[in-house]
Structure formats: structure tokens, C-alpha cells
Amino acid sequence: MADYDVPEISGEDGIVDVPNLQPDAMKSHGPWVSKPEFQEAMHFPTDFNMPEDVSDYGNTDTLVENWKERALDKMADLKGRYRSLQVFLDICVKCGACTDKCHYYLGSTDPKNMPVARQDLLRKVYRRYFTFAGKFFGKMGMPGFVGAAELDEDVVKDWYNYYHQCSQCRRCSVFCPYGIDTAEISMAAREILDHIGMGQKYCTEIMGKLNKIGNNLGLPEAALADTLEGLEEDIYDETGVDVKLPLDKKGSEILLITPSADFFAEPHVDGLMGYAKVFHELGLDWTLSSYASEGANFGMFIGSYENMRKVSLRIRKAAQDLGVKRIVFGECGHAWRVAYNFLNTLAGPFDFLDQNYPIPQHVLEITEPALAAGKLKIDKSKNDDKVLTFHDSCNIARGSRMGPKPGGQFDIPRNVIRAVCNNFVDMPADTIHDATFCCGGGGGILTDDLMDIRIKGAQPRMEALKHVTDKHQVTHMAAICAICKSQFTKVIPYYGFSMDMIVSVHQLVSNAIFLTGQLTEEEIEAKEAAEEAERIAAMEARKKAAEEKAAKEAAEKDTDKTKKDE
């Protein structure tokens, strides 16, 4: 583990004390900048010079030509397209209610990570160039009087740095009296940056892979097929049941879209096996698609409606090509926000799907009712080695819903956990449900070049987790978001936890479910012993055959030799 300044956590009441400001505590050059070739694939301008060094980030000679005019043009364009942006830039009263609500401020103490201050980085330029007050006081040489400022290189540098220290988690919007959502501002800022030559490498590179191959990891069809086969074997070895994970199976009823991390990362993959078991047990006919093998949609992070739509349309095409009737999403926060809220807009109307089911549907919306109706055989004691808590992923908690009722996104995952585990404890009320704290890695910052802010941003969640581990003997934290899971497994060791305490919700289901025809542990042991015996027998047979062959060959050689000698 590299050296980072890790905040201390006490676990006392599970709540981080609001720190005093330390200006510029997180001032930096920001994440790696994206090369022109990646920008081109995303339809962004490419007439800029790739900075040779981070010290050049945001300097005029590495930005596009006329970057200032073009940035302002883009801002004007966006505020004419997004009511959120236009209204939010105008109506903030600087009341400060949001200032202590962001996990990045709490963890880093940098005032520019306070939501309103983060918004002000963009707002001050809006005020200077687009409002009467800003223009007037700007001409008088005192734009600062009304919170306006000139657009210059330093502002661009701050944009790039601090808009990549926002996970677009929307916690601030819950607490703002007008619902001002800093995520909307961050997205707009990143869109502007993408238009002046300051795209972020991580997001654009990943979207490039997705557009070319179908998933964020760049996992081609053959590799995917291999992986799924391997998982089928794993389930077979473990249960003796032939559970399938079909790929590109035409005419299936359900298309499952899941984050590609589910194909191999831990603990994600255990969740994928959980979905497979549930589908198998419920007799659902389902398939994955190699063309649309990605649930996540990074188009949202960079605020690009067009790119987000392009990615979403892959799902529509896959559904049509495979002739499915339903689309179901796996465990992923951002994927679910885009799916639940935006998919119908971006890639609808879905009149070719079965209208009797929600379009799209979350896998938990299948598992929970099935558990409640007793359709799955569950042995809760299989999870008795754990005391669980649950991390509400913010994009699910504050950006979407599950089930028919508002708030279903909180109850449904908890109902599932309670149905498959005996021990469950919630973290403190101010850190769950719609007040949940982000894991610290969402919104396009799950990259090694942003490790410092990722660690600091995790502090409020870690504090809450420490509270329940210390006071309530919690051993594991379940999550339903690929990014949360990846971020936690990477970051919690810095706080003294072990990475295997993070589990997928469907992993818990997978542990507890007892499939029809599943072998008991003893039977599996017996089966394994039998297989082992068979294997040894086969090996011995082979060894014996080889020895015989060698002996025969040696004998033949001898005869050869005698022949030659003759």
C-alpha cells in the first residue's frame, strides 16, 4: 500500500465531526488528461496539444484554440439545454446548509469540496459573463463583489481538479432547500472541459472500450464466453447442479445487463453467480449479451447526453437482436440510475418488450418477491458466520427507485438480506437511506490517479462502519453497486478493515439458497472424493501405460541396435 494521509476514525458515534477549513488542502493538477484520439472517438474537439507534464494541465498552449470563447459558448449551450443548470446557477442563496454534507469536504477539509463552493467555481464564471450584476461589476473591476470572476487558466485548473473530486452522489441535493444538485453542475463542467481539451483519461478511455467491444473492460466475446463457462463449472462443483450462464442466447425471455466487473472482480462475481442461481431456480429463461455486456454508463459521469445515449442504444439493439421480452439489470448503482431514470428516455420506447413487467427491472425486484413468496429454498444459517450491514449506494438511494413505492430502494435490498441472513444491523441513521454517504469512488473517479481523494472521501462511510463493527459486532458490509464494491475493497484496508468484508447482496443469496437437486455438503464431499479417486486411478492407469510403452520402445530400440550392428 502506497503512503497516503489517511483520516483517523474512532467509531464513537459513527458520525464524522465537521472539520475546520484548510484552503487548498486538495489543490492538485487533477486526474490524467485524455489524449486527442480518445476525445475523437467521443466526438469531442481534438485540436489541442497533449500536455507533456501535469504541470502543463490547463495552460493555454495545451488547450484548444480560443478555449475561453469555446468554454463560454458551451456553457451558454448547456444552460439552454438543461433547466437544472440554468436554475441552479441562479438560485443558490449561499445559505451554507450543504457545506458540511459532502463526504469529500468532511474527509479532505478543502473548502472547495463544499458543494456550494464547488458549484461556485462554475457559477462565478456564469455570473461574470451571463448576468447583469456580474457584467456590471466586472466592468467596474470588482466582479468579486457579486461573486463573479474572470475565466482564466487558474479557473480551468480548479474546474478540472475539483470537478473530479465530486462523485455526483447528490447528497448535497437532499439537504439543499431548493434541491440544488451539485452533480448536475459537475456534469456540465466536465462537458465543458471535454470541449476545451481537458477530458479525463479514465472515463473517455473506458467509454472507448465500451464503444468498440461492448464493455468497460474491453473483454471480447470469446473471453466472456470462457469466463461464464468457468462460472458454470464453479457452481456445478459447489452444488452439483447444472446452472447455466447463457451468452447471446436468441429467443430468451430475459436479457440481463450487469456491470462488467461482475464477470470477474471480487466480490462482484459471487453476486453474478447468485443471480444465475435465482434465475435457474425460478425457471427463468435468460441470457447475457456480448454486444451489450456492460451495465455501467460512464456517459452520465461526463455529462454527455449524446454519449450516454449512444451507449444505451446498444442495450436496445441487443434486446431487439436477441428477441427478448424483458430487460433486467444486475447490482450496480450508476447503471441502475441510468437504467431506471434515463433508459426509457434515451433508448425507448420499449414497446417491443413485455409490458407486464417494469422496463427495465432490477434483479432485486425479482429476488425479493420470490423470497417473500417462499419460491426459493433458503438456509439462513449458511450466513451465520457473518453479521451484516448494508451500504445504500447513493445512485440507487437518491437517484432511482425499486418496486412500486417510494423508498423501495431502501427496503427491498434489506428485505433480501434479512431473508437470507440471521444477523443484520443498520449503520447510524444519518449515514443510510437517502442520507447515505458515498463510498468515495463513484462518478468517474475510481482510478488510481485519484487515490488520495478516494481514501479521504471514504472517511464518513468508514466512520459509520467502524461504529457498527465496534459496537454491534458487524463483520461484513453488503453493497449493490459495482463501483462501491471495487472502491471499498481497495480503500478499506487503509482504514484497518479487511477487503473480504465487502460482499454482494446476491452473494448472500447465493450462499443461502438451496437449489432443487443440489447436493448436500456431505454429498459433494463424497462426489469430490469419488472424482478424486477416479482422477488418481486414471492417472495411475496413464502412468502404467506410459511405462509399458517406454519399456516396449526400449526393447524395440535394442532390436534396432542389434539390426544396425549386423
Binding site: R81, Y82, A133
Partner: protein
């Protein structure tokens, strides 16, 4: 002299009213015209239109989200806004003839509300100066706006409790404004200050953060129904992409 002042202030108030009404109307027009291309209600959100109206009412009348986030600010803000409302209601008597019973009934409340109004504003000002986070995000104009309101309140209270002005003449002046009829105005410095500051408040309303009052109704995170799966939501510019079968906006004709 009283007539000259009357004319100057009449022009000032007509201009201020025009700026206020047209300025706010223009902003409302923009807010209504700019589409919200995506469904972004902060969830859990209501799933019906009625639910959204209820949610908005709770925000506007009770500052519900603010109550969750900051109790002290909520209390101060509540005090300030509601006493301001009482004061505004009380002021109707200067333009109404006959004065409504309700407005008459509210007179004493409005009169004493002035003190609470100033206490609330002083509290808000103190926050801006004392809490380091709030100080950091405060621009001089934020302070100036609180001072403006405080001065409006103090000059008003001064006339109510210390040095009365000629109310009958003031009322004739404002009735005259409504009818585009020049009327004289008392020349008390304190009255002229009070009215001048109110005119400034009206003038800056459409170019400042005071737009939060109309703006809150247009906030997509608060005014959208949570029904994206049931009902397709499409902005006109996004519909154009579909119509022309294009992926990017700059490819549109």
C-alpha cells in the same frame, strides 16, 4: 418640495416595479422554456402529480429540506421569511381603500414582527461572519443584501415607534402611483431612506439570488414526478436527434 420628491419617487417606484415584474417574468419564461431533458428527482420522490405539489408546498412553506440539514438556519430563516410576510401584508393598508378586514386584523402582528424580522436577519448575518464555512462562501453582495434588509427594517421600525411620518400623505402617494397620478410625499429623511431601499430591493430582485423565490418551483430535483419507467420523458432537442436519426447534436441539420 414635497411635490418634487413625490415625482422623483413616483418615477423611481414605477421603474422599480417595471424592472421587478418584467425581470422576474423574463426569468420565469426562461426557466419554463429551458427543457429538463432527463428525469432527476431526488428520491424518494412522489409518484403522482399531487404528491409533487405536496412536496413543493412543504419546501416552500415549511423549508422541509432545510429543517433536515440545519436547525439553526431553519429557525432563523423561518423567522425572517414569515415576519417579512407579515410585514408585507401589513403594508397593504397603504394601497388599499377600503382596507381588507384581514389586513386590518394583521396590523399589530405586522408591527411587532418588525423586531423579530431584524433579530432573524442579525442572526443570519452573524452566521455569515462567525461560521468559517459560511464565511468562505459569502460574497460581499450577500452581506450587502442582509444589511439592506436590516436597514429597511430599522428605518421602518423607527417610523412606527419613534418618529412618525405623515401616513395619510404616504397613502395618498401610493394610491396615486396605482392611478398614475402625481402626489406629494413627506420629505422626512427616514421615510425617503426606507422607500429608497425598498426600491433598490425591487430593482435587484431579478438579477440576484432573490430569484430563489420563483426558482424553487422550477427545480427539477423537487418538481419532477418519479415515473420514468411508466411514462417516457423526452426533451424537444433530444426528440430532434431521434427524428433525424443522429447520434450527436452537431450533426443535426
Amino acid at each position: 418640495m414635497q411635490m418634487t420628491i413625490g415625482v422623483i419617487y413616483a418615477v423611481l417606484f414605477w421603474a422599480a416595479t417595471l424592472v421587478l415584474v418584467l425581470g422576474v417574468a423574463n426569468k420565469i419564461r426562461i426557466y419554463a422554456k429551458v427543457p429538463a431533458p432527463l428525469k432527476i428527482p431526488t428520491t424518494p420522490a412522489p409518484v403522482t402529480q399531487g404528491g409533487v405539489v405536496l412536496r413543493m408546498m412543504q419546501e416552500v412553506f415549511l423549508f422541509k429540506s432545510l429543517f433536515r440539514s440545519d436547525k439553526l438556519l431553519w429557525a432563523l430563516g423561518f423567522l425572517f421569511h414569515y415576519t417579512m410576510l407579515l410585514i408585507v401584508i401589513r403594508h397593504f393598508r397603504y394601497v388599499q381603500e377600503p382596507v381588507w378586514g384581514f389586513v386590518q386584523f394583521m396590523q399589530p402582528f405586522g408591527k411587532y414582527a418588525g423586531f423579530l424580522f431584524i433579530i432573524g436577519l442579525l442572526g443570519l448575518l452573524a452566521r455569515r461572519l462567525l461560521i468559517d464555512r459560511v464565511r468562505y462562501i459569502t460574497a460581499p453582495s450577500d452581506i450587502a443584501m442582509l444589511l439592506l434588509l436590516i436597514m429597511i427594517g430599522v428605518s421602518g421600525l423607527f417610523m412606527s415607534f419613534v418618529s412618525h411620518t405623515d401616513i395619510v400623505m404616504v397613502k395618498a402617494f401610493f394610491r396615486g402611483l396605482l392611478l398614475f397620478d402625481w402626489q406629494p410625499l413627506p420629505t422626512d429623511a427616514i421615510l425617503l431612506l426606507h422607500l429608497g431601499l425598498v426600491a433598490i430591493l425591487m430593482l435587484i430582485f431579478p438579477i440576484s439570488k432573490l430569484l430563489h423565490a420563483p426558482g424553487i418551483f422550477f427545480s427539477p430535483t423537487r418538481n419532477q414526478i418519479d415515473n420514468p419507467r411508466e411514462k417516457r420523458h423526452l426533451a424537444p432537442w433530444a426528440a430532434e436527434l431521434e427524428k433525424q436519426n443522429k447520434m450527436f447534436l452537431d450533426e443535426l441539420e
